[in-house]
């Protein structure tokens, strides 16, 4: 099993006992209520593994990724990458978000160059590297376009190229394909698999889609509702290289999807108490992270 929560030897990323707490202000109460978003989350991920994380809404998936990215400080536990403790954001991790977050005043080329500028790579080299990754995501010819001239799928390719260009060790992807239409999504999934095959980055991929998780990942981590922790880790031993077309025709794929679905569905049912979920919704609006970098 490539991913587990015990064995730390030879792991690229080690997450240990991560905990995140938010403080919520209830109307009429002076004292802040403690709200545990993430609890004893431990995971060891070997180099080059593709890990997908699925879980019910609000289980702390994105919180987890923000912590790994170094954007939010956790309330407990530790993260190490190649044995080094993570203390803040750094170019050793690439972060890709659902909303692309491209700089609209920069052309495609200059967007992809951004991380290289932070890395203080000379201008000429920057352009060469950026073009290589623009080519990798299939956007050559679009170097001088602005993001508003591109479709959603193309924008996400730019975001992927931008994250790959500065050569991070790890790619953190927070529901990257959730905002594009279903067909574009499948194309992007296939392309991501190809890119991953070429670059062999370690990937942590958060998604709402079980099918997507199973298609892409070596292992799918299923999380419990809040406080989020690991419910189960499902190994996906489907042969690679994988493509949407092949996977959908395979019986093994369906069985695994079904298994993950049951793991998730089970807890969503037990979580479905109207009073609780109603309360949770109004609470969620007032959440403030205890520490934001």
């Amino acid at each position: 099993m490539p991913v587990d929560n015990n064995d730390n030897s030879n792991a690229k990323i080690v997450l240990q006992n991560l905990k995140q707490v938010y403080y919520i202000k209830n109307p009429g109460e002076k004292q802040l209520e403690e709200f545990v978003a993430l609890e004893s989350f431990s995971l060891s991920i070997p180099d080059g593994a593709f890990v997908a994380i699925v879980g019910p809404s609000g289980c702390g998936k994105s919180t987890l990724l923000d912590i790994i990215a170094g954007l939010t400080k956790s309330k407990g536990g530790s993260i190490t990458i190649d044995g080094c403790e993570v203390s803040g954001p750094n170019l050793d991790r690439g972060f890709i978000m659902q909303g692309y977050a491209l700089f609209p005043w920069r052309t495609v080329l200059r967007n992809v160059e951004y991380g290289l500028e932070v890395k203080r790579i000379p201008k000429k080299e920057r352009a060469v590297i950026a073009r290589k990754y623009i080519d990798l995501v299939g956007l050559n010819g679009f170097e001088n376009r602005y993001p508003n001239e591109l479709s959603g799928g193309m924008r996400q390719r730019v975001a992927i190229a931008r994250a790959l260009a500065y050569d991070p060790k790890v790619l953190l992807m927070d529901e990257p394909f959730a905002a594009v239409d279903a067909q574009t999504r499948e194309t992007l999934q296939d392309e991501l698999l190809k890119i991953w095959d070429k670059t062999r980055k370690t990937v942590i991929f958060i998604t709402h889609s079980i099918e997507e998780a199973v298609l892409l990942a070596d292992v799918v981590v299923v999380m419990t509702p809040r406080p989020g922790s690991i419910k189960d880790i499902v190994t996906i031993d489907l042969p690679r290289p994988r493509f949407n077309a092949d996977a959908r025709a395979s019986a093994d794929y369906s069985v695994i999807v079904q298994r993950v679905w049951e793991l998730l569905h089970d807890m969503e049912l037990s979580n479905r108490q109207p009073v609780q979920s109603k309360g949770a919704k109004s609470i969620a609006d007032e959440i403030t992270p205890s520490t934001v970098l």
Binding site: R93, G94, A101, P104, W105, Y114, V118, G141
Partner: protein, 276 residues
């Protein structure tokens, strides 16, 4: 997804040949309303539809007088001095408003600290301060430049603050995730993201600088467009008075036109939201 998807549409040649005609039509469409207005003015003045015809000379007469002022050389010195005053006030205003706005928007505590003061100052009628400025800076050019600066800086200041504060948090998050430090974050994300806001403020400031200029010149000056207009009104040279009003309108329109053109060219990326 491939290149030809968003290739720019090529206009067939037979339509291209008529582009001169298209341009002519456009120009005509943009001035037709003005022409009709002038025609109605001319007509109602000639037919003496207004009870005091002396106050209401025909449009042609106004333009004739304007031509005379131009040829006799009386117009240009007034335009030059007014331009100088308003540009100086405008640029000094920007020189204060943009850096201050960036600081207020970026440093939250500084913003909280100075906000009450800003609210009080902002709501002071600009021209009410002219006597104060005259007291401190004399009756000469300086007090006029300062009152124009005061009147012009507010829209740019407020827009700059709003621009900095409305930067898409996702962009900041993306930049931070790439290890961007706060100096680079400001220069490479916050500043470019707020530029369109700042520029809108600058355009409005230009308009204000002209408004305040005219009022200041009417209140106390011996040269400039506002002074000339006021002078002719007092001496009952009504066509001349109107001629100067026309000059002011042209003046303001040209400045706004130029700034809008610069805005369009500079912010091509902003046609629609490029972030989501």
């Amino acid at each position: 997804m491939r290149k030809n998807d968003i290739d720019i549409i090529k206009i067939p040649k037979k339509y291209k040949q008529h582009s001169a005609v298209v341009l002519l039509k456009k120009v005509f469409a943009s001035i037709i309303a003005i022409l009709i207005f002038l025609a109605l003015w001319e007509l109602s003045a000639r037919l003496k539809l207004v009870s005091t015809p002396a106050f209401f000379p025909p449009a042609s007469k106004i333009f004739l007088v304007l031509g005379e002022e131009l040829i006799s050389g009386k117009l240009w010195p007034n335009v030059a001095i007014s331009l100088t005053r308003s540009f100086m006030g405008f640029f000094f205003g920007l020189a204060i408003a943009i850096p201050l706005g960036l600081a207020i928007g970026w440093f939250k505590n500084f913003g909280i600290l100075v906000n009450p003061l800003l609210q009080v100052f902002r709501n002071m009628p600009t021209l009410a301060l002219l006597p104060v400025f005259v007291m401190f800076f004399g009756i000469g050019e300086l007090s006029k430049v300062i009152v124009i600066m005061w009147g012009a800086l507010w829209t740019t200041l407020l827009n700059t603050i709003a621009g900095v504060r409305s930067v898409d948090p996702q962009l900041i998050k993306a930049a931070k995730a790439m290890g961007t430090g706060s100096v680079r974050l400001f220069g490479s994300v916050v500043l470019p993201a707020s530029l369109p806001f700042i520029f809108t403020g600058v355009r409005m400031s230009a308009t204000f600088s002209i408004l305040i200029l005219i009022a200041a010149e009417m209140m106390g000056a011996n040269s400039g467009l506002g002074y000339a207009m006021f002078f002719y009104q007092a001496n009952f040279k009504i066509p001349q008075m109107y001629a100067y009003i026309v000059v002011m309108a042209i003046f303001g329109t040209i400045i706004n036109f130029v700034l809008e053109a610069v805005e369009r060219r500079s912010f091509r990326w902003r046609d629609e939201s490029g972030t989501t």
